[in-house]
């Protein structure tokens, strides 16, 4: 429990309580509900990684960015993909530089053992996100970075297993150099689109939060926060329309990112409120499958508009 105490002492005021987090996020145009704020607060207090799951475009990655801003620290981002290995996640040697160095040492007539020592020094090491995150506190006077491990579901089981090990003690061994350890663990946020089930062992090591599609009110608030230039009636109608649209059987249900794209499109087109012809003309901003566009445009979009209007 001493670890927790140290972390508490290091927590700045703006993240000192659930309310503070919620308000500070709001101040940075990120509208978080209380459950998300609680999850973030606990991730900071308990020093545990936070696993955020949710459909694409509900603002998972944005949370990490805003948290980094809030904590006045750096965001270190690792984008996951299949086959992600140590060379791209942790460190790699700068081979070209090493080869050149060998030539130089040769020219100077250095002994082979000496050369070997020389070229595996820290100046030939390329630090990838995970190593950067581990070293960050050590070189930034104890400040914790926000480490974003984005779309972990895209990585394979091998990387998941590696990550599991890393998250338990935040140390990495580079055979040629030695073991590097973070004095204070970084704030870790892991996101997943649930394109596959993650391993239970990894999930248990994390705090978990599912980000749902926002309520009508919350979505309106989000539009107002992100696009202050959008007229209030428009924002209201858009959020109601989106709510209705998400009840339709679609191949890809639009997220908040799509809502914001659409809202900015309508603002650029100088729309004061939602009109059927304009909705159909701009559906491409929210629906990304041809089948979905065909399904919604025309009669259905009129119905949705009417349903959205009735909600008033």
């Amino acid at each position: 429990m001493t670890g927790t105490q140290e972390l508490t002492a290091a927590l700045p005021d703006q993240v000192g309580s659930i309310n503070h987090i919620q308000e500070s996020l709001r101040g940075r145009s990120y509208v978080a509900d209380r459950s998300l704020a609680t999850a973030l607060f606990l991730a900071l207090r308990l020093g545990k990684p936070l696993l955020l799951e949710g459909e694409a475009g509900v603002g998972k990655t944005e949370v990490a960015k805003t948290m980094a801003d809030l904590l006045a620290t750096d965001l270190i981002r690792l984008q996951c993909y299949e086959g992600l290995d140590v060379n791209h996640a942790v460190y790699e040697w700068n081979y070209a530089k090493q080869m050149l160095e060998i030539r130089m040492l040769e020219a100077e007539g250095a002994a082979r053992d000496h050369a070997l020592q020389e070229i595996f020094g820290p100046e030939f090491l390329i630090k990838r996100p995970l190593l950067q995150a581990i070293e960050y506190t050590n070189v930034n006077g104890g400040k914790r970075p926000v480490l974003l491990i984005d779309e972990i579901d895209r990585a394979d089981e091998e990387f998941e297993a590696f990550l599991l090990e890393l998250l338990s003690d935040f140390q990495i061994t580079v055979p040629e150099i030695g073991t590097l350890k973070a004095t204070t663990p970084p704030v870790v946020i892991i996101t997943s689109n649930r394109t596959r089930e993650l391993h239970d062992a990894l999930k248990r090591r994390c705090l978990y939060h599912w980000i749902d599609y926002p309520s009508i009110e919350k979505e309106e608030e989000i539009i107002a926060a992100r696009l202050p230039e959008a007229p209030q009636t428009l924002a209201q109608q858009i959020s109601r329309f989106m709510h209705e649209l998400r009840q339709v059987d679609l191949y890809k249900v639009p997220g908040v990112a799509e809502t914001l794209d659409w809202a900015s499109a309508l603002v650029v087109l100088e729309q004061q409120d939602l009109r059927p012809d304009m909705v159909d003309a701009t559906l491409g901003a929210i629906l990304k499958h041809q089948e979905d566009v065909t399904k919604v445009s025309g009669d259905l979009s009129k119905q949705l508009l009417a349903a959205a209007a009735n909600g008033e």
């Binding site: 081979y95 649930r194 239970d200 248990r204």
Partner: protein, 430 residues
């Protein structure tokens, strides 16, 4: 669904009046009882979390949920369990009287002080349930032992020629005994799912990729001159297999046997996702991850209400495409649909969803037991709509056809199939 009715926490397990930590430990135990995988670490985290957020009911709930729930679907279960467990507890933000009024059923009014409320009616019921559970477990063990005794003398009564005859017999005509023997024969069918090249590389003596790091090290002995190049190649993994089984009417038996077959050869189905449909689609992957597949199928048939009802293939595939395709068809999956194609739903929906499913899957195979009959012609509207989008159309009516299926799966090549209508007519059987 079973999760709608939770066992009530036992009165003595509520730990009234105990320290908060003890109560959280007991709460963790209760969560485990209702089916959440709770670890000691999580219980400790919960204790720390409560300290951090304070004893306000909703904050406590959110904090505890963040700690204990590790997948979306468990959220509802957790909330129910939380309410049941903490309903007699007064939190810092609550007036004890209000809380009791809210939590009691409307026809009951709180009488007197908190402790005089009768304990939850679960006391006796739960004792009974425990005994029942224990009995069931015992029964199951005996059953399994009985089965393993069977294993000891495989096919004692079956001669070679009898086995051969059995292999060609249509599953629909199997007797119960023959079913049992068929299971043993299934175990002998070699099964190897085609592999796919992953994007991960591994060290190799030959390969497309240079291993720069190893090359540099190895060539230090030549003074850093790159003479021997170390190589890497792509790692191989078996493809994911997705089964979508029709369980309506006569298809029930074939689907069960196919599941039995896959379970036998694949041990625990860890790389196989299974869905069943009649009028609607149900995922049963989790239910099947057990040793005794017969018991699992029994359980599934209780949960899946339309076992042996009508068929709506198109609508079921629509559900699959919208809700599951993204989650289970990630990396070059092989999809097997088993159905006779008698569809009572909308044919246009079926056509559209088949087209979509084919685009999602690496290989789309349709298994049809009717193909076993030499006179069968795929003429029903359903099968007519589906066929243009099927990569392979194969029979699945007897053990020989299962063998052929296993071969087909092993031969799914590295290159995607050329997508046009392919109709593999069945070999003449018998």
């Amino acid at each position: 669904m079973a999760s709608n009715v939770l066992p009530l926490p036992h009165e003595r397990d509520l730990g009234r009046g105990e320290e908060l930590l003890d109560r959280i430990v007991r709460f963790g135990r209760y969560l485990r009882l209702v089916g959440l995988p709770v670890t000691v670490g999580q219980v400790m985290d919960c204790a720390t979390a409560v300290e951090a957020v304070g004893l306000v009911r909703e904050d406590f709930r959110l904090a505890a949920r963040t700690v204990f729930v590790t997948r979306k679907d468990d959220g509802v279960l957790f909330d129910k369990a939380f309410d049941l467990y903490w309903r007699y507890t007064t939190f810092a933000d609550e007036n004890p009287f209000d809380e009791l009024a809210n939590l009691l059923p409307p026809d009951q009014t709180p009488q007197g002080d908190e402790e005089s409320i009768p304990p939850p009616p679960g006391k006796d019921r739960r004792r009974g349930q425990e005994d029942e559970d224990a009995e069931r477990r015992m029964g199951q063990r005996e059953l399994e032992e009985g089965e393993s005794a069977d294993d000891a003398e495989p096919d004692a009564q079956l001669t070679y020629s009898a086995s051969e005859a059995l292999k060609e017999k249509d599953f629909a005509q199997f007797t119960t005994d023959e079913m049992e023997h068929a299971k043993h024969l299934m175990e002998r069918i070699a099964w190897q799912i085609a592999q796919r090249r992953t994007r991960r590389t591994v060290r190799a003596s030959k390969g497309r990729y240079l291993d720069l790091r190893r090359s540099l090290r190895q060539n230090m002995k030549y003074g850093g001159e790159p003479i021997e190049l170390a190589r890497r190649r792509r790692k191989m993994k078996p493809r994911q297999v997705v089964l979508i089984c029709d369980i309506s009417g006569s298809m029930d038996r074939y689907s069960r046997l196919l599941l039995q077959f896959v379970h036998t050869v694949e041990n625990n189905l860890s790389r196989v996702e299974v869905f069943v449909f009649g009028t609607r689609l149900t995922r049963i992957t989790r239910q099947l991850r057990v040793r005794n597949i017969d018991a699992a199928l029994e359980r599934v048939s209780h949960e899946v209400q339309d076992w042996a009802g009508g068929t709506r293939i198109g609508e079921s595939l629509l559900t699959f495409n919208t809700r599951w395709a993204r989650r289970v068809l990630g990396r070059g999956a092989i999809v097997l649909i088993i159905s006779d194609g008698w569809d009572r739903g909308d044919v246009d929906v079926l056509r559209r969803e088949m087209a979509r499913l084919q685009r999602y899957s690496y290989r789309l195979i349709w298994l049809n037991p009717l193909l076993g009959s030499p006179t069968y012609q795929p003429l029903t509207r359903g099968i007519q709509a589906a066929l243009p989008y099927v990569d392979d159309f194969l029979p699945v009516h007897n053990l020989n056809s299962l063998e052929a299926l296993a071969e087909a799966l092993a031969e799914v090549t590295m290159r995607r199939p050329v997508r046009r209508q392919t109709l593999h007519l069945p070999a003449v059987v018998g």
